[in-house]
């Protein structure tokens, strides 16, 4: 056994935002001896613990939260070790938050240096790519189809069927585009993968590209994720050097390259057609569908477009985890879903689990209630276009189907919690304001309707009993829903309808 002591300090945006980088600087200055080594691991996704520092000594790895802790007074590394012991370190795998999850896609996050390809390979990484190259295009697609995976970007379209459509196009040039424009407030699952396990995304993309016959892939990454950009660039380089990308991948005739494209701060560029416009070098305007991108996408060629998590799930589906994944859940809600819990919550972070978990379990068991300890009032599910549920709807199951029944969606899995200090009329206004700010401006209802929506809600805030304004709001929402070019305008009424329906008298007095 090695006598080396390993200190794990995460290098991940959320951890860094609460001091991980500074702690790393302080601690590394203390180290004089070669027997102590720092590893910048990813985050475990237990964000309330960050910065969560672990020490591995004699094969035992324990950690402690260093939130709001200043270590600059320490003189030696031994001082740090002593300090660490005083914090009652524990094995993070033993806490309920991690233990109760069903981590398949996110199994590697937090464990090691995300760019350590040896670790990646040691944990079955790239075995699935080899499998795919052996079993061929159709068999690869068939396995993905049989897994039941649906798109985790928000629309929940069956992934295998989309791949089949692209594969079936008799065109020599095809593209793969990974949608990494994770724009929903309170979501971070894509970022976690890219920062904490980038090879799983790259392997997933490579398998998907091979399956459909694409030789070029783009990752469309939002500009707000600079660290993810660094990790992805480095990971792409490493994959290239190891012949997992480039020409004749693993000595086959399969060629595939990945180009990283950085967005320019537009939410709607996460809409797949606007993303294609942006990748092609134009303004981020939504395109009409049809044509479907799978038939006529990037540069007029068949294009497989998937979200980061969807693609990062693919390696698991070609491994022995396939059955573990596919036996969870039913209908469209098969496999695990990485929910992202945030807002007014004690224990926020990433929770990869089954869909049919209830909101109550999510908030109480994982989240441990509101951070303010005030009563829970509202929960928004599925990003800024998602619906608000009230505190008496905690038995709602988080499956795609049950949320559809409530005229909402799981979306990208964001769950934002509010206590009773929230003004739901402001939240309604925010929905319209968000549309005003982020509308690409192409279609009339979204461009003009959203502005009028804000104006109507402001009038309602002055007089909640105004029948006239209530009708106007209803007409406006109807037009947005029925005539908008894309889901941006089409779904903007969702949060408003949910507030009208589930929060009586908070926006409109009846």
């Amino acid at each position: 056994m090695s006598k080396v002591i390993k200190i794990y300090i995460p290098n991940e945006t959320s951890a860094n935002s609460v001091g991980a980088n500074m702690l790393h600087k302080t601690i590394s200055n203390l180290i004089k001896e070669e027997s102590v080594k720092i590893i910048r691991n990813g985050s475990w996704g237990a964000y309330w613990l960050e910065p969560f520092i672990e020490i591995e000594k004699d094969g035992v790895r324990t950690g402690a939260s260093y939130r709001n802790i200043d270590l600059t007074h320490l003189k030696t590394i031994e001082d740090f070790f002593l300090d660490f012991e005083k914090k009652n370190p524990f094995d993070i795998n033993e806490i309920d938050f991690i233990k109760n999850q069903n981590r398949i896609v996110f199994s590697r996050i937090g464990q090691q240096d995300p760019l350590d390809i040896n670790y990646y390979r040691a944990t079955k990484g790239y075995e699935s790519l080899i499998t795919a190259l052996e079993i061929g295009h159709q068999e690869t697609i068939d396995r993905i189809k049989s897994s039941g995976l649906t798109g985790r970007g928000g629309a929940a379209f069956p992934t295998g069927i989309k791949m089949q459509t692209v594969f079936d196009q008799d065109v020599s040039t095809k593209y793969l585009a990974c949608n990494a424009d994770e724009g929903d407030g309170g979501t971070f699952s894509d970022r976690l993968i890219m920062e904490s396990d980038p090879f799983s995304l790259i392997e997933g993309m490579t398998i998907a590209a091979y399956a459909v016959g694409a030789s070029k892939g783009y990752i469309y990454l939002r500009s707000e994720y600079p660290l993810a950009k660094d990790f992805l660039s480095n990971a792409i380089d490493i994959a290239l050097k190891n012949n997992y990308l480039g020409e004749n991948i693993q000595n086959t005739d399969f060629n595939f390259e990945i180009e990283l494209r950085i967005g320019a701060g537009s939410y709607v560029c996460g809409e797949e057609t606007a993303m294609m416009e942006s990748i092609e070098g134009r303004r981020g305007l939504v395109r009409s569908k049809p044509p479907l991108p799978a038939i006529n996408g990037l540069f007029g060629k068949p294009t497989l477009i998937n979200n980061v998590v969807t693609l990062a799930t693919i390696p698991a589906l070609l491994s022995d985890q396939h059955s573990e994944f596919s036996k969870i859940g039913s209908n469209k809600s098969v496999g695990t879903m990485p929910f992202q819990l945030s807002g007014n919550i004690k224990n926020g972070g990433l929770i990869e689990t089954r869909f049919d978990i209830t909101l109550k379990e999510m908030i109480e068991n994982y989240g441990s209630g509101t951070k303010s300890d005030k009563p829970l009032h509202a929960i928004q599910i599925g990003g800024p276009l998602g619906i608000y549920l009230s505190s008496n709807m905690l038995n709602t199951s988080l499956t795609i189907e049950s949320l559809e029944e409530l005229k909402g969606s799981v979306g990208h899995g964001g769950i934002i919690v509010f206590d009773d200090s929230v003004d739901m009329s402001e939240q309604a206004k925010f929905a319209m304001e968000f549309c005003v700010k982020e509308s690409c401006g192409k279609c009339t209802p979204c461009r003009i309707g959203s502005v009028r929506g804000v104006e109507i809600i402001e009038r309602l805030q002055k007089n909640k009993a105004s029948k006239e304004d209530a009708i106007l709001l209803e007409d406006l929402c109807e037009t947005l829903e029925s005539t908008s070019l894309c889901a941006m305008g089409g779904m903007t009424p969702n949060p408003i309808h949910s507030i009208i329906n589930y929060f009586p008298n908070e926006l409109i007095e009846k």
Binding site: S288, G441, T444, V451, R452, S482
Partner: protein
């Protein structure tokens, strides 16, 4: 007559091998697969409401008014019918109460951000928003009904500032509905990409690129955006000034050889605006700044309505009645002939008039004048085309229709600047290039087509002026050596003996790319690569301009291109061909009409007894059996004292001919110069008689464009001179003793058709029925001939001609180290007679000398400073414009302004076969100057100045 509203099908026509059948409101319709529901509906007469769709641009789906429902529809909203294709069995509903109320709601959103008073809007009566509002009960007393979403203090764009910077149209952002039609028209139709949408969401505004206003932007004022605008946001200033037009006259533009069809929109017998006509075979509803906006010269105050005469050119003009002027001219011509002989006078037909007007002038010369001293301005532009293509293919015209470029795979542009000279065709070409066609540009200058938004030449060969022939020979050399020639085609279609001779010639090392390096200045490997691209790139199409013809080897080069095209099998089908981009609106027509001294109408030799007898019988005269004088010969003879009188229909020789001093001497030596023109031109300064001519807005007849398309020209107003031009010519003939007795221009065309085999099927009636006809149009081709030489060449077997390179004698040396080449710009047209009398002068009102920074710095020349341009022939001054678009060693200027006198420096060198002047090569030196040249001073001192004001 009423205002013609053209049907808009909403989305472009789709070509597909497969058809689909669906049902629109229960009506069964079969359309090519991919056709939108909107278009299919329009085809069965159902116009789905829309504000952002048009059949000349791709579907966009912005306004959402065109939403429809269909059985089995999935998803959250209704699809837009413009973006959704009809599919087999689809049952579409375009109307129901829900769709109607949603459409009304959308209109209310628009109206909540739009001025309400339609009465005070210039677009009243021509506004799609107004029409849709009316259809949805949102218009009351021509006022938009205040929107339910119109809140006090709500966000709007009302009171946004109007951009009135463009002299021809305004942009009022207050009325903009951000449908992007203007942006899309600029991108997709014009191909300039000058407009964009700034910002996003509600903040979205139309912006002319990075500029603050339209005038300063990259906008080329083609008018496509104005035409596309569904509201009064982009609108012609003339509509605001004169009111909405109420009748339409279909006619043809009188500028370049593209020959765009226009709707002249008229109110109270006054043209309000010219709008390109969608059914126009040449332009398909597109236009350029000149045709669309620069027509105000027709009513310019400089135009004369009465004839003028004077005994001597030093005398003042005397305004007289027509009879007196015609008698005066006839008497003078007869006196000259009595004293100096029958051949001492001649005439010039115009490339700017109608076919009928040109025809009657050559008829006058061959009958009343009794000689063949007739020529036309094609002499100085495309006479080598006529010669070269006749020798090789058998006919004096381009091989294709414009639309053919949509099937070209490799486009080779040689010595032409289409975005400037032929902008509407350039837009079509750029569209094809954007679709992926390859592009080779041969031009000393880095013209716009070499690199502009979404267009980039695969090869730009910046050859030195005068080196076309070695370049084209090297292309053929590569094709032959690398066996890229089409043996089967040559065997079936070309003359074997001439081909074998040619092969021996072209294979020689003297025609290799290496040999071409020195004269062209382009390295051999680039020439090889470009040659391979043309020869092996499937459909290869050559488009060329005066950069080919205006050389001492112009005819050689035309035949060199024809050789290459035949050798690679690129003539006789759509997507290929050899195509002159002809300059003037009717230069093709004037040539067709027998305007050359050696040819009768239809390019038939004057020396052929059989041909001559056809005309002699009809005209009842004896026609001389020898060719007459070319214009250059007339001028030389004038200087020599043997040529004394000339009747010039619409051409300004003093400004347009090379070696101005020589032309001044020639005209100063004549006893009777009759100028028939719109304005007192430079040539009119040497005239004894001035016949005021008619503008195209007064003409009734036909123009023939560069693709041999005969288009109708219909009068919008009566001649302000009181006489049609053909009447002037007919009366002059009568005064000289020859009666023609035409009652109308239609009768003239009937005579042309009767006497000319390629025109047999052409008549006003047929043109009114079918719109336009491309000659040959006769019994074997009753609807005309879009593509020529389809199964065999007109001459039978294609003839290869040996194209030896004989360099011009005009070479650079120590005294004249630079080579001058001349050309045009976008806004001015040739000698500027018309365009200088329009607001186009705001963009360009003087000729400048383009010079490379290296050449400028060694001479101490600053940008915008006055420089002296000096050649062996003369000197003039103009301002320098330093640019890297011109290679070192070459300078360039335009010849639009008489004050510049660009032709003072050009030489009398000309094409060996046709005497087409060598405008494109003059050895010059350039140096800083601090005063105008002697010639310019003399011109200002001696000649009565014609006041030119910009106030059409």
């Amino acid at each position: 007559m009423t205002l013609l509203k053209e049907k808009d099908y909403g989305t472009p026509k789709i070509e597909s091998d497969n058809n689909v059948t669906g049902y629109i409101d229960g009506i069964e319709i079969t359309v090519p697969e991919g056709t939108s529901i909107m278009r299919a509906a329009a085809m069965v007469g159902i116009d789905i409401p829309s504000l952002c769709a048009s059949d000349n641009m791709d579907a966009f789906g912005s306004c959402r008014l065109c939403i429809v429902d269909f059985e089995g529809r999935k998803g959250f909203g209704y699809p837009s019918s413009c973006t959704t294709p009809l599919s087999n069995g689809m049952k579409v509903k375009t109307k129901n109460s829900h769709l109607k109320s949603l459409r009304k709601d959308l209109l209310e959103m628009y109206i909540s951000d739009h001025p309400l008073d339609c009465n005070t809007c210039s677009a009243d009566g021509d506004c799609d928003l107004q029409t849709q509002a009316d259809d949805h009960n949102l218009l009351n007393n021509n006022q938009l009904v205040a929107s339910k979403y119109d809140f006090k203090d709500g966000c709007t764009h009302l009171d946004a500032e109007v951009d009135a910077s463009n002299p021809y149209f305004n942009f009022d952002p207050e009325k903009c509905i951000v449908c992007s039609k203007c942006v899309r028209a600029c991108n997709e139709v014009q191909g300039t990409f000058a407009l964009s949408v700034d910002s996003r969401g509600f903040e979205s505004t139309i912006k002319p690129g990075v500029s603050d206003n339209f005038f300063d932007s990259e906008c080329v004022s083609c008018g496509a955006c104005v035409q596309a605008c569904p509201t009064g946001s982009l609108i012609e200033k003339s509509v605001a000034e004169k009111g909405m037009p109420n009748e339409t006259v279909l006619t043809t533009c009188a500028y370049c050889g593209v020959g765009c069809s226009f709707k002249a929109e008229v109110r109270n017998n006054d043209v309000v605006r010219m709008v390109p006509y969608k059914e126009g075979g040449a332009n398909n509803g597109h236009s350029c700044i000149k045709g669309r906006f620069a027509w105000g010269y027709a009513k310019h105050k400089d135009r004369l309505s009465k004839p003028l005469i004077r005994d001597d050119i030093k005398d003042d003009w005397k305004e007289v009645e027509w009879d007196e002027a015609i008698r005066f001219a006839a008497r003078r011509f007869k006196e000259i002939q009595n004293e100096y002989g029958t051949n001492s006078i001649g005439g010039i037909t115009s490339a700017r008039t109608t076919n009928e007007e040109a025809y009657i002038v050559q008829k006058l010369i061959r009958t009343a004048f009794g000689n063949n001293n007739v020529d036309t301005c094609a002499r100085v532009c495309h006479s080598p085309t006529g010669y070269g293509l006749k020798q090789t293919f058998g006919t004096s015209a381009g091989t294709q229709n414009f639309e053919s470029v949509q099937n070209a795979d490799v486009i080779m542009v040689i010595g032409a600047n289409p975005t400037v000279g032929h902008p509407v065709f350039a837009s079509q070409m750029k569209k094809r290039i954007r679709q992926g066609a390859k592009l080779i540009v041969v031009d000393p200058r880095k013209t716009d087509i070499v690199k502009s938004p979404h267009v980039k030449a695969d090869f730009h060969l910046p050859i030195l002026p005068g080196s076309n022939v070695p370049l084209i020979n090297a292309f053929s050399h590569v094709a032959v050596h690398e066996d890229l020639i089409d043996h089967e085609y040559i065997k079936n279609r070309c003359d074997e003996a001439s081909f074998n001779d040619w092969i021996d010639f072209i294979k020689d090392d003297s025609n290799s790319p290496e040999a071409a390096e020195k004269p062209t200045g382009v390295d051999a490997s680039t020439i090889r690569k470009a040659a391979r691209l043309y020869a092996s790139g499937n459909n290869g199409a050559i488009y060329y301009g005066l950069g080919v013809t205006e050389h001492s080897q112009g005819s050689t080069m035309v035949m060199g291109m024809a050789n290459l095209a035949m050798a690679t099998g690129n003539v006789g089908f759509v997507g290929a061909g050899v195509n002159p981009l002809r300059g003037q609106n009717n230069v093709q027509g004037s040539c067709d009409m027998g305007s050359f001294p050696h040819e009768l109408p239809g390019y038939r030799p004057i020396t052929d007894d059989a041909v001559r007898s056809i005309f002699e019988n009809k005209w009842n005269v004896k026609i001389q059996n020898e060719p007459g004088m070319r214009s250059v010969n007339m001028f030389d003879a004038a200087v020599g004292g043997q040529f004394k009188g000339i009747y010039i229909q619409g051409e300004d020789f003093l400004q347009s001919e090379p070696n101005t001093q020589h032309i001044e001497e020639a005209f100063g030596s004549m006893d009777c110069v009759v100028v028939q023109d719109l304005f007192l031109t430079e040539t009119a300064n040497f005239a004894h008689v001035f016949f005021p001519a008619t503008s195209f807005l007064e003409k009734d007849g036909t123009f023939t464009n560069a693709e041999r398309r005969i288009n109708r020209v219909r009068p919008v107003m009566e001649p302000i001179t009181g006489k049609h031009e053909w009447e002037i010519t007919q009366e002059l003939a009568a005064a000289m003793g020859y009666e023609m007795n035409f009652e109308s221009s239609e009768e003239i065309l009937n005579e042309i058709a009767e006497l000319t085999p390629t025109f047999t099927g052409v008549s006003f009636k047929k043109l009114d029925e079918v719109g336009s006809l491309q000659w040959p149009c006769n019994e074997s081709a009753p609807l005309g001939t879009p593509i020529m030489h389809v199964d065999e060449f007109v001459r039978g077997k294609g003839q290869f001609i040996i194209t030896d390179y004989v360099p011009t004698t005009e070479t650079a040396n120590r005294r004249f180290p630079l080579l001058l080449t001349t050309g045009r710009n976008l806004v001015q047209y040739n000698v500027g007679t018309q365009t200088r009398r329009t607001h186009n002068t705001l963009w360009s009102n003087e000729d400048v000398l383009e010079i490379h920074p290296a050449d400028a710095s060694t001479r101490g020349i600053d940008n915008d400073s006055l420089v002296l341009l000096r050649s062996r022939k003369g000197e003039t001054t103009l301002k320098a414009f330093i640019t890297e678009k011109i290679p070192a060693g070459v300078v360039y200027t335009t010849f639009h302004n008489p004050e510049t006198g660009a032709n003072v420096v050009t030489t009398e060198n000309s094409d060996w076969a046709t005497n087409c002047p060598e405008y494109k090569v003059t050895a010059v030196e350039v140096e800083p100057a601090n005063h105008r040249s002697k010639w310019q001073k003399n011109r200002n001192d001696d000649l009565s100045q014609i006041p030119i004001t910009v106030n059409p």
